[in-house]
Subunit: 243 residues, 2 copies
Amino acid sequence: MTERFDLYYWPGLQGRGEFPRLVLEAAEASYRDMGRLAESDGGGVPAMMRILRTGLHGRIPFAPPFLVQGERLVAQAAEISAWLGERLGLAPDREDDRLFARTIALTTADLVAEAHDTHHPVAAGLFYEDQKPEALRRAEAFRRERMPKFLGWYERLLAANPSGVLAGGRLAHADLGLFQVVEGLRYAFPRRMAVLEGDHPRLVALCERVAAHPPVARYLASSRRIAFNEDGVFRRYPELDGD
Amino acid sequence: MTERFDLYYWPGLQGRGEFPRLVLEAAEASYRDMGRLAESDGGGVPAMMRILRTGLHGRIPFAPPFLVQGERLVAQAAEISAWLGERLGLAPDREDDRLFARTIALTTADLVAEAHDTHHPVAAGLFYEDQKPEALRRAEAFRRERMPKFLGWYERLLAANPSGVLAGGRLAHADLGLFQVVEGLRYAFPRRMAVLEGDHPRLVALCERVAAHPPVARYLASSRRIAFNEDGVFRRYPELDGD
């Protein structure tokens, strides 16, 4: 595999960029993390902003993350992840399983958006502090209804598939996405997750399997893995984790 | 094209099901609208709930809409639309354009989710009346920041493509999705849209072109097109449209 991918995302946070980054790392692909590359090497935020402003070959992404490879420009974390997965051996073999793996990846993106909106329920352009009452209400509903609904769905998929992955017979981008969202929920809602994980043994086992996948394990131990922080999608605001 | 598609969605509302439905209609595909089919013919809400509960060939959708075709089960409006579009001649020819059309479809799905959250900013499981103060705040930010940002993005894409569509050289699923979201925004935010449309002439022209596409025009004039209403994603609550 000699083709090279350029991933564009904000430096300093995992955010939605972590989903395609995990696929690139798990596949040991050749890629450049453009937001973290020196400006003198054509990287950095200015390079990203340039493409957001003027596009590339008439293709303008709405927001990061986006991936550039030759004439191609793909945005949307789930689409980048699925497309990379299918290209790099991290997707099911069968077409119907691939299609369902995409369905899972997009549903995970919905869960990520809902997790984000627990701290930004009014507007992404406002500070958390300026939408805290709304955040407390939204987070409560998220913890009580949405987290069990999503996690229960993954668990049911795993119960229906003897191979221990979400779709098809081998580890794929959808499993990496599940790992990432679970890690994020563990960071943002540690108390709630401690309660819920006991009811979702297959999900927990799959997350362990992803973390132990050698290229993923090496990546997680490297300095390329940015720590979770309060600039990302998953934020640890203890008041949003309930009592 | 003799293959038949079964689309599952709630009867009585356009909602997210309208995105794949428009692709099926625009392609004059053979499909069954399962939620609206008589229970005696294997349709209705019970048939949909059965698949949501137990899945099909181990594939369990998280939520409607979903599409069944043979062994395949696809959920997520944008993924169903893109997959159908690529199969039924409503996608660009070139692979890089197809990929970008998918990016657009997923971004439109984000806009739809944000439009939904203007009336349900706290929890989908609560009534609008129980989250009205939050809705007023979220809708204001949506009208002021998000609507111009999304509509401006589509307009820039159209300015960059001489063929007058969002990606590639012919009408595709991404254009149908834009038409549907614009129709929804016109329904939910008529005052705001009246102001914004003047700044987005290419977007308005593309929506007219979609509406005039003969199979779409026939569909829109038929009883199969459900009217917008306050059960759907786009709801006309005048207080959310500002003054």
